[in-house]
Symmetry: C2
Subunit: 320 residues, 2 copies
């Protein structure tokens, strides 16, 4: 008997991850390949879909639906990629959902990667058992997804652009003092670099051959060695993060805030513990005794698992 | 034939409004009386329920369900008033929903007044036809309700406590620089008063016999007369409001923000127009071309109409 599989696709700026799963959600097989900016999105999409079809064939099955998590912003309702800053420019205004639908001939759901990751964490990760959560990814940028009353909030909100310093640093979006402008991995590295260029002493100087190579990971490593400058940067970041997350928590009162993405995954409790302390000092709304902050449970798989869940939903929608 | 009515109750710090409606939502009759802090909540509740039963009898019907909008914070799931700052202290930890349920013998839904108002505006007011909106009430304090994907988000979030000035004015909640601490009616009056006490010239001095009597309305009136000091206060308030609402809009990308409550209703376009300008300068997320800001369509009735809608839902839940 031919088995029906769900396809999941995670399209990011650096790589594309894909997987097939059984109807119950069990992942059967997965693979990934780097995003090649020199290829057109059509070529990349062909490669992706051929890989998925091969996986299905190898396992004596066929694809019955697909879910896609893609770097945002995108138009959820029309299924179109808009202008993701971390993707090749050729992906702008790419009608991703309809192309996958017509190519595979199966129902498809597309959502931005942070929403997909929130869904993945809610169903299979650190968010299991909670009805209301906020997922934030801290990596090159900052994104977020919201689950309210067990439902994914499918709006195109951008949690990274909550204001944390009203007249602060200019953000890539054109506004000032956004969470992303002050707390992304890029921002953490830049902040450390600025201190170094201003002449401050630090172990960071010996950790890289050129200050341009500084990353959030270098800063976190130096914090673990109690480097004074790195600790200053870290405290500032934690403080800004607490302002932004504090506003989100005040507005939504989620049961839990889940942090994922490269920076949060790499730093772990080095980031989470001071953040919890600062949040509990800062947020005083009556309905919430303490702000619970957890690390993502699926590591780098949050988006892919969420994409598979979107595929399952696409199938359910098609059947009703 | 005996007709079935839905009862709606709006419990606020200064008055209690109530109404009965037909099954289709049409309001049949309404009344209100002042909140008397000297009476126990049991006495006040008895008066309310007797008034509702009289209304139903006069119209040859009986109550089949009730919805209540009450000043928050409250425990939605358990139906308990927690500790509303603007209500008599005797209402703290008052098990409102179960008492109304057992006294009337009908299903009851309770939600905080801002959530009820968001629901009322969504179904009958300025929010009709939108799937995603944020309702904010600006009066003595600031509260908010969220409709996402046509559903009321029943969390206990407190929109008034989004941070707009990280190290700013201490808020009643214990945090610093909350939207409510800087932009509520109370805050507007206090800000003007502080400038006057510091010796600034203004028409405001002639508009009240004592600066203690200054209200947000006095300040708005002086803005209409181009009073320089009042205009300064107004610009500051609009700027802080835009930071707070900007963060909410960035996070949720609602189709529309609806402003209600005494201050917003009294000021109207005097507040809304500069707020729109400032928001459109401040918010740059790609998914939203412009931030739409509308005045509440139901005036002081948003909560009561929302309470009636909650009553209808209580009936539907009981039947399924």
């Amino acid at each position: 008997m031919v088995q029906d599989f769900i396809a999941g696709i995670d399209i990011g700026g650096t790589k594309i991850a894909l997987a097939i799963a059984a109807a119950g959600g069990e992942v059967i097989e997965r693979t990934s390949f780097p995003m090649d900016a020199c290829r057109t999105p059509h070529e990349t999409l062909n490669q992706t879909l051929e890989a998925l079809e091969s996986l299905a064939e190898e396992h004596h099955g066929r694809l019955s639906a697909a879910g896609i998590g893609c770097a945002g912003p995108l138009d959820f309702e029309r299924g179109i990629v808009i202008s993701p800053p971390n993707m090749p420019r050729s992906w702008r205004h790419f009608p991703l959902r309809s192309l996958v639908e017509s190519r595979l001939g199966v129902p498809v759901l597309l959502d931005n990667d942070a929403n997909a990751a929130a869904l993945g964490e809610h169903l299979y990760g650190a968010g299991q058992g909670y009805t209301d959560l906020v997922y934030l990814t801290i990596s090159t940028g900052i994104g977020g997804g919201i689950i309210a009353g067990n439902n994914l909030v499918h709006r195109l909100g951008e949690a990274g652009h909550v204001t944390v310093q009203p007249d602060g640093m200019l953000c890539g979006c054109g506004a000032r003092g956004c969470l992303e402008a002050l707390c992304s991995g890029t921002a953490i590295a830049r902040r450390a670099r600025e201190y170094l260029l201003a002449g401050r002493q630090s172990k960071l100087r010996e950790m890289v051959s050129d200050v341009k190579q500084l990353t959030a990971k270098t800063v976190a490593d130096a914090v673990r060695e109690n480097d004074e400058l790195a600790c200053t940067v870290w405290r500032e970041i934690v403080s800004f993060l607490a302002i932004g997350i504090g506003s989100i928590v005040a507005l939504l009162a989620p049961q839990v805030v889940i942090l994922g993405g490269g920076v949060a995954a790499g730093a772990g409790e080095l980031l989470l513990q001071p953040l919890r302390d600062e949040l509990n000092q800062r947020v005083h709304i009556v309905s919430l005794q303490r702000v619970q902050v957890l690390q993502a449970g699926l590591g780098t798989d949050s988006v892919l698992r969420g994409a598979l869940a979107l595929g399952t939903r696409a199938l359910q929608h098609a059947r009703t």
